[in-house]
């Protein structure tokens, strides 16, 4: 790692101030950031740790019935909450147990790894990502592989999930990293179905609108029979071709629908 200063503020306000330094980088659970620092892929002047800020930790339900999760809440705690079972199930299979005891939901969403699980949940639930500055709808938040709508120095503070009638996440693991080779989050709301696919696309997490339309009128695996994703824009690597990922995305969508019931 390159040398950097380390700051561990206790309040969000102090963190925001610390982040104004040039090349300051926010550190949440660090489960992705620290390995990339070891590879010297980043050269921050300062790391601003968010793990000491209690006001951005914890889980509650707001007046609109949304599950609100503080950005610095670890995966293990998201997995343990009972308000949104499909989200809990997803969180319980992110990384491995030790990673789940450090990694945070906010950190995962800020990083927007194209194979991460949380982006599928956020997009698939139409979540709202609240930052120190504003609220961003999930549909506007994910802008590409490792790209988000966050501005320089902006810190995610909370994620608000509308709770669906039913939902499920199915993950087909890449055998080495155990990230999603393809992961599909399906959520059925009163006003329609959302389907978000992670791991597959060169553009990062995306909504499969044809599947949403088909499932909107018939929420059953069979409704997807005639549909096909285009593999040409999917990730192709040693673990599978774009066509394979497109195929798996459909299989996982069907299974998620079946699991959601």
């Amino acid at each position: 790692m390159y040398a950097f200063d380390f700051e561990r503020p206790k309040t969000l306000a102090d963190a925001v101030k610390a982040m104004t330094d040039e090349d300051a980088v926010a550190l949440s659970g660090g489960q992705t950031l620290i390995p990339s620092l070891k590879q010297r892929l980043a050269m921050p002047s300062k790391l601003v740790s968010l793990t000491g800020i209690d006001e951005i930790k914890g889980i509650c339900v707001d007046d609109d019935g949304r599950v609100c999760i503080g950005a610095a809440t670890i995966h293990a705690d998201v997995a343990a909450q009972e308000y949104y079972p499909a989200l809990a199930a997803l969180a319980s299979n992110v990384g491995d147990p030790a990673v789940r005891n450090r990694g945070t939901i906010g950190g995962s969403l800020a990083n927007n790894d194209p194979s991460a699980c949380y982006p599928a949940a956020a997009l698939g639930s139409g979540a709202v990502i609240r930052t120190d500055k504003r609220e961003i709808a999930a549909d506007d938040y994910f802008t590409g592989m490792f790209e988000t709508a966050l501005e320089e120095g902006e810190i995610i503070t909370e994620i608000k999930f509308p709770v669906p009638e039913t939902a499920a996440y199915m993950k087909f693991e890449q055998p080495a990293s155990r990230f999603a080779l393809v992961g599909v989050f399906v959520a059925k709301y009163a006003d329609g179905v959302r389907v978000a696919v992670t791991g597959a696309s060169n553009e990062g997490v995306f909504r499969w609108s044809e599947a949403e339309a088909a499932l909107g009128s018939d929420f059953s695996a069979g409704a997807l029979d005639g549909l096909k994703l285009d593999g040409s824009n999917m990730i192709s690597d040693v673990h599978g071709s774009g066509d394979y990922r497109a195929h798996i995305a459909k299989v996982m969508t069907k299974r998620a629908v079946e699991k959601a019931g």
């Binding site: 040398a3 380390f6 561990r8 489960q31 620290i34 740790s49 491995d96 030790a98 450090r102 155990r178």
Partner: protein, 161 residues
């Protein structure tokens, strides 16, 4: 250089660190607790697992500075003061759950954390909980068996017995 203070295996530990000093480096280099190992640089092998404030974490993927004031337990803190192995350690010896010994500290710390949360895990739950711990020697057979035994389960019916 900034200082960090924490409690390690029940004893206060203070030392100078850099911002980039990882917990595992502080343990191995400053405290000379070399039982915690480093087997990869992508946070996957789990040879470095320790307990921080009661949770199992990878000591290679947490900065020492993050552990200010924390209670840290390493493999050196698992046996009794007179050297008597605890039940997880003893089960690993009884069931040949280790060979070269390099992944073993992380395996023991992870297994202990599992049993703390789930005192009677199924084989599937054990295998799943070990996702972040890689062993190259044992094919996992005797590790899983040792953890089942540490949980007080009858392992005599396992394949090959």
């Amino acid at each position: 250089m900034p200082q960090v203070s924490m409690t390690v295996n029940g004893k206060p530990a203070t030392g100078e660190i850099e911002g980039r000093t990882l917990l595992v480096e502080f343990l191995r280099e400053s405290l000379h607790l070399t039982g915690t190992h480093v087997g990869c640089d992508t946070s996957q092998c789990g040879a470095c697992v320790v307990h921080v404030d009661g949770r199992d974490v990878k000591a290679c993927t947490i900065f020492a500075a993050e552990c200010e004031g924390a209670e840290v337990t390493t493999i050196e803190g698992m046996a009794a003061d007179d050297g008597t192995l605890n039940k997880v350690q003893q089960a690993f010896q009884d069931h040949h759950g280790l060979q070269c010994g390099f992944c073993t500290p992380g395996m023991v710390m992870t297994a202990a954390a599992l049993l703390e949360k789930n005192p009677n895990p199924s084989e599937e739950e054990i295998r799943s909980y070990l996702q972040g711990n890689i062993c190259r020697c044992t094919g996992y057979h005797n590790i899983v068996k040792a953890i089942m035994a540490a949980a007080g389960q009858d392992t005599s019916k396992i394949a090959a017995e």
